[in-house]
Symmetry: D2
Subunit: 487 residues, 4 copies
């Protein structure tokens, strides 16, 4: 969750409901629990069976709907909503979802979590055929593809279009009388279905959003599925049968809320187990275990339990760091002033501290944490990472698509330790990661039904538009290891 | 810290610095770490040796200084700042501190944490003598008293005035060439002194504010002291010698940041110790211990360690609950929808859960937490409170000055348990509380140098304006227990 | 200009410049003088030869660019801008112009003043062919048409597209290296070209926008012309030769700024002449002439001069009526409380007053003005309108496209007088209107080169999508008079 | 009214009502018509007979009450309001009126138009006696004086206080059951009384504010009067009998709204008469007369009528110049770009133009106007000022209290003409000014009951705190002319 410290950012969270009074309000609460998946923009589109109503803007959900009248305007029994992460360059309101498109034969709203790997190619083809795009977003491509085939009917057009787009995606579409959800053939992004007491169905990125609206969990959406919800209830269809589960492991490691259950695994439990296996693989000689709040606290408590070391609060995180916060000057920063994290001197002073963190991206935060703990008197600082080294980019919706920013892509573990300044540095192995998560739905899918390409370079899909750039970023040895050759 | 759930609210936090370039900026960072002490308003006054500069407004610090230009306008080497809690009724900008008063013989700024017990009487006397008040705040009384005596000189006038006001108070005053700090004769509110690398002195409500600006801790301000900081350095003076330490125990239990050190005691360690002693006094038969985030996590981990039960994350707290958040409808609330806290179903389902919380004020949050855990499948819910029952109001700066809101003032523990719906309910004893905190500076002060009147009704000072109302709120038995008689 | 009182609202104003440093800033000042043409939204797109930069929002220009940084971000030597009137229903930011479209082969910005009469038909055809529209605006149709033909090259595609759209239009298009302007075949909306001292060319809806940036007037854009401005200078081309001047007479009567010169006629002079001819056609027995500020002051002074009656200030207009103004309650309104206009008691009391106004749309303002003057003591109130009765809607960009709101469409002059409560009511004849304006460029164009269809029902073009609805709104007699038959 | 162009700014407008439902709303409309008297801040305090309610902020009235809920909160049958001009330096919200003071024996609200000449002295004395001021405003002094005497009762204390303050002032005070108005002994600032249909009384700076709330004019408040309005009706009292009418002539020349009637004189009529007498004193050989909009249009039409020259619209003023407007760069300004005024080329080109303006303060606007007209082709530009040269400062509430800014204090008329660049420059004589206004209430008061000290240096009162500085600003000759000697 602490996106400001990490360099990793999930692209989005989605929520939809069909058949419930105050659908927009339910969507608002659902999106609230998904806010950790995106803080740059939020929006809701509702339907009253006749028309679609939209409100969206940049900022946090509570800012976008600061005026309650905006939410009240979104009448009707169906709605979809979206929270968005976006890089500053493209952070115009035109890119805030859900998109709402008006056609003489009916309006369509669209919300998306994920990333398409053949977006550039598709967009160029569409523009050459006369298409006019209104956003920079990949998401809009789907609607243009649908409209190309619209004379065949909406659902057939949608199925054809879903077979044309590639990558990791979870789409929600709202028409005046229908809510549609679709998941990519590898189920890379999470998406689940719930049901309200009144029988209405809910679709959300994570189960925490079902919980807040008191919806009973029904099932996870499966790879390649097309879910249609209308007045007749829930229809489970599919647009492809060439599927293979490869859910993003970073959801378990870092992104998802600890109370969410993805493909049968409670995220907190998976993290605690990562901590336990980390303690077995890498026991350290220390006086206490501390976690980096908030996302690493589960793993830290697992490490503490397994190792028998006391679990302490050695770092605390401010609740009040706002986007508008005035940043410390360079001089203050060099003195170790950090707005978000503080070391607890009274706890760590004079002690050998084992710090558990969930991942290292650029390494800058790790370095600051080690300095902060030493400044507060820690005698030794051992850094334990509850995931493997993050060496390869994500092309499925996490905002790291180049290797240049990844510390582990360029340095050995020992080099990283030196740069970070820790007394020791250890990572969880890929095998232990898979074992800690242990997806029950995995069947015989490789890597336990997980995408672990960030650690291994072995992606579950072709990379299309990204392939050439990716290949160039690999060194000789990596290319061979992955069986990739530049022609 | 989670003020929205509790009914308790600290009145303020203060920060001052003299002799450092960018004094206002340092004050901004210092106030940032004190934001948990007040979220209703914030302000800074700086001095460049010739003039005083002010900016203050309602809202969080980051909102008040959303425009960085406002901070840059506050030039000079000295500054004081304030974060404020205020009830909505009086939440006008006129009450946001520091107050800045212009006089033909020099400006004075004033910031205050605490509450005066004879404010009504003093104000009435002053008004009858021609005084015109600009705020509803007690704080302003001090300046009117000072001006009454001003012909005797500023410091003598201040000392006289400090002997006229009663209650719990920590004052900071800024003149163009001087920073002054004063603490009440019982040291009820915390106040500490630090020193920057360049020799400049810093004064703050908590040591976490020293840490963020990299100031070395010098000492706590002692009861009855008057601290003057000017170009010649630090002068420790006093305005009274009739002093006796009675630091507010709620600072340790609930208000202060876990990384702060008050009178030699790290707050996290005190809380963890409360949890340990609670486990000794009230062991329960459970499968796990969970804490109510964030302020009860330390006590919960103490309880877990002492009891040998696993420490789990059974409740999580949203980071994104804003003041502007649209509240759930009554129906949703009855369904258990809670914006701030969520139970982790995958952790508590089917389990006997021991929940540690730091206090019960009105009892409404406790009731919601128990319901939430049961809805998530908990088999048993045992509620363990790491402080004694809160039965008597605070007149020294915590925003509970009537007994009507206090659940423990009206119900026995068993009655409370029933209303809250827990399987068992236990409180820490007053003796264990005193033992857990264990203030080393206490000497032979009663109650270990703490104010524990909230639990015992035995206040360290006369109550002045509040005495009559307080007496009326007591029943016969309580009056006798406290040796108080209505004439 | 007083749009709030009238029911008439011009759709837009446009401004463009190519070849000048700080092009966006010049556009800002140009748009400032065109603000009377639209107060609902404003925007600017600039080009630095490589990229296009956009800022637009709802509200007045000064609000949209309240943060000067937004204007500074719009770098480059070329820019186009737009001020927009829009009905509240469609007042989303998506409809605020200029529109900016991104294509892999280059961006295009588009701004439009006018209205297309075959927009519905074109849009339906485009959508059925797969087009996805992003706004409700007619304007966007042009870009979809262009993209359909884009493989033939941009200028040929644009010419083809301009022959497909019908109605009244003035388009500005900006590409990274080119500014293009196009006017409809009847020149219904005004558009002029100017030149800066440095040789850069400027295009604007009115000459007042040339004046403010110190541009020398070059020429009016003529019907059917396509103006291309690039590094090689100004290129005058055309996309059709089937043209006939029919400039909108309402520009002279009401919309345009009095200092603008349209097709050789200074607007103030035209209005003053309307007042003079009105005095010749309808002399009244009165003590003074007063005008309704601000748009009728020219005509009123003309009437006064011709009639020899004194010209007085009998009505004054508040400068401070904001959009956010809290409207008087019904009771206050019935008492004659009016936020915008006040009668000057000391001037009109006891007098016979001749009030000159430029037009009557719904008649509600006229009624209020008469009441206000009588309440201030006027003995007689004679209402003189410096244009003919407004009986037929405008389909070329003025926001009256139904007859239901037009008082003169439903009542005789005598009936209008009674409803308004004036002692007499007179209108200028169509012939005098044409004579007063006296367009020198008119040649042998009918109606002196003016569109006077609002008074006669004789439109200079077919009405396409509007024809059926318009026919239904006519009575038998009107249909015959216009030679129109319902099949 | 065009404050941005002039250097002159009225300090305030006041409005009060007692005994009418929705008193705050009436006050809002009243203040709306007084907005020309101050645009920097606005506020209203209402009373419901038990409590006083306040809202005030910086900005225009419509901005301050942009949220209608703020106005609705101000319940009760009585209210006072204020619009304020303030220089940027002191433009804090603390200075925005009405001030509201809370006392244990009842609240008091206070609004003021004018300026006290012995404020510095009084404030110093009060502070030395212990007073704490909350604003920089002179206004607050009155409340401190009242509280000094409060044990004698409110009205006696007020009368004593009014005899202690000197200068030009119109005060409104609101207590929960009473509205009080007081005017200085010379009646320098205007103040009038009206009555609503329901019998409630209204007090306002100008009669235009009576008109908008449909109040019947009752009488002007006379010098030295104290008006008390309560449930028993209107009580006319006085605090001094040493009075002599000297109403500020600038109200007629420039500040007041043309529809207001001050001491029996309609402002428009006075201005028109100034124009007529100016034409008699200074006929010029020209083709037309034009006025500088808006405040000089009355005088211009008077000049035109008297001279027989045509009255034309040669300058127009933009309605859309906002405070936030981005100012033209220096280069653009030098090119004559002016945001507020434009010359009408089609009117003035090739013509000899007589421009009538109401006053010259710094001369910069006059210079710009002349340049603008010449740039638009005017052959000759004759500047005619409908008041005498403004040579001496105002100490009674107009924001010019030093002579350094006044062009006429430093240059002869011929020197002014050269600097401004006009072909001729003429001013109205003091005698004609007095004759044009012709106050019927004047009796045998000197200067026709007007303050004309701005032109003559002969002030109707001693200058107290300002005397020394003023004397220093005079040259030998001026000192002698005024019979003033420096000791």
């Amino acid at each position: 969750m602490p996106n400001e410290i990490k360099g990793l950012n999930e692209e989005c969270g989605v929520f939809g409901v069909f058949g419930a009074p105050d659908a927009a309000q339910l969507t608002y609460y659902g999106l609230h629990t998904l806010q950790h998946r995106g803080q740059e923009g939020a929006g809701i589109v509702s339907s009253d069976g006749a028309s679609l109503y939209q409100h969206r803007d940049r900022g946090l959900l509570a800012q976008v709907f600061a005026d309650q009248a905006e939410l009240k305007r979104l009448v009707g029994n169906a709605a979809i909503g979206h929270v968005r992460y976006g890089t500053s360059g493209h952070n115009s309101i035109a890119n805030v979802q859900p998109f709402l498109f008006h056609f003489h034969d009916g309006d369509i709203a669209l919300a998306h979590n994920g990333n398409l790997t053949n977006a550039v190619t598709l967009r160029r083809q569409l523009e050459d055929d006369g298409a006019v795009f209104q956003s920079d977003s990949d998401t809009e491509i789907l609607i243009h593809l649908i409209r190309k085939h619209i004379r065949e009917g909406f659902i057939p057009a949608l199925k054809q279009s879903l077979n044309q787009v590639h990558g990791g995606f979870a789409f929600l579409l709202l028409q005046k009388n229908r809510l549609v959800a679709a998941l990519d053939p590898n189920g890379i992004r999470p998406l689940c279905i719930g049901q309200l007491a009144n029988g209405a169905y809910v679709v959300a990125s994570e189960t925490c959003a079902l919980d807040i609206v008191n919806a009973r969990f029904v099932r996870d959406v499966q790879p390649g599925e097309l879910i249609v919800i209308d007045r007749d209830g829930l229809h489970i269809d599919h647009y492809t049968t060439k599927t293979r589960l490869a859910i993003c492991s970073m959801e378990y490691i870092y992104f998802a809320r600890p109370d969410s259950i993805i493909h049968g695994v409670t995220v907190h439990n998976a993290r605690k187990q990562m901590g336990r296996l980390l303690a077995r693989e890498h026991p350290v000689d220390a006086d206490m275990v501390i976690g980096v709040p908030n996302s690493s606290l589960s793993a830290a408590s697992g490490y503490a339990e397994e190792s028998g070391l006391p679990y302490e609060m050695g770092l605390i995180k401010s609740q009040y760091v706002a986007r508008t916060f005035i940043q410390p000057t360079q001089i203050l920063r060099e003195q170790g002033v950090h707005m978000k994290l503080s070391a607890v001197r009274g706890v760590v002073s004079g002690k050998r501290v084992a710090v558990v963190d969930d991942s290292i991206v650029r390494g800058t935060t790790s370095k600051q944490i080690v300095k902060m703990l030493r400044d507060a008197g820690a005698k030794e600082v051992h850094l334990l990472i509850s995931s493997p080294p993050f060496r390869f980019p994500c092309f499925y919706g996490i905002d790291i698509s180049t290797r240049s920013e990844l510390m582990a892509a360029h340095y050995s573990v020992e080099q990283m330790r030196q740069r970070i300044g820790a007394d020791s540095l250890h990572f969880l192995s890929v095998d232990s990661l898979i074992r800690a998560i242990n997806v029950p739905d995995a069947g015989d899918a490789p890597d336990g039904g997980l995408t672990v390409a960030y650690f291994t370079g072995k992606y579950p899909t072709p990379l299309y538009d990204y392939e050439a750039g990716y290949l160039k970023s690999l060194n000789e040895q990596e290319r061979r290891a992955q069986g990739r050759l530049i022609k």
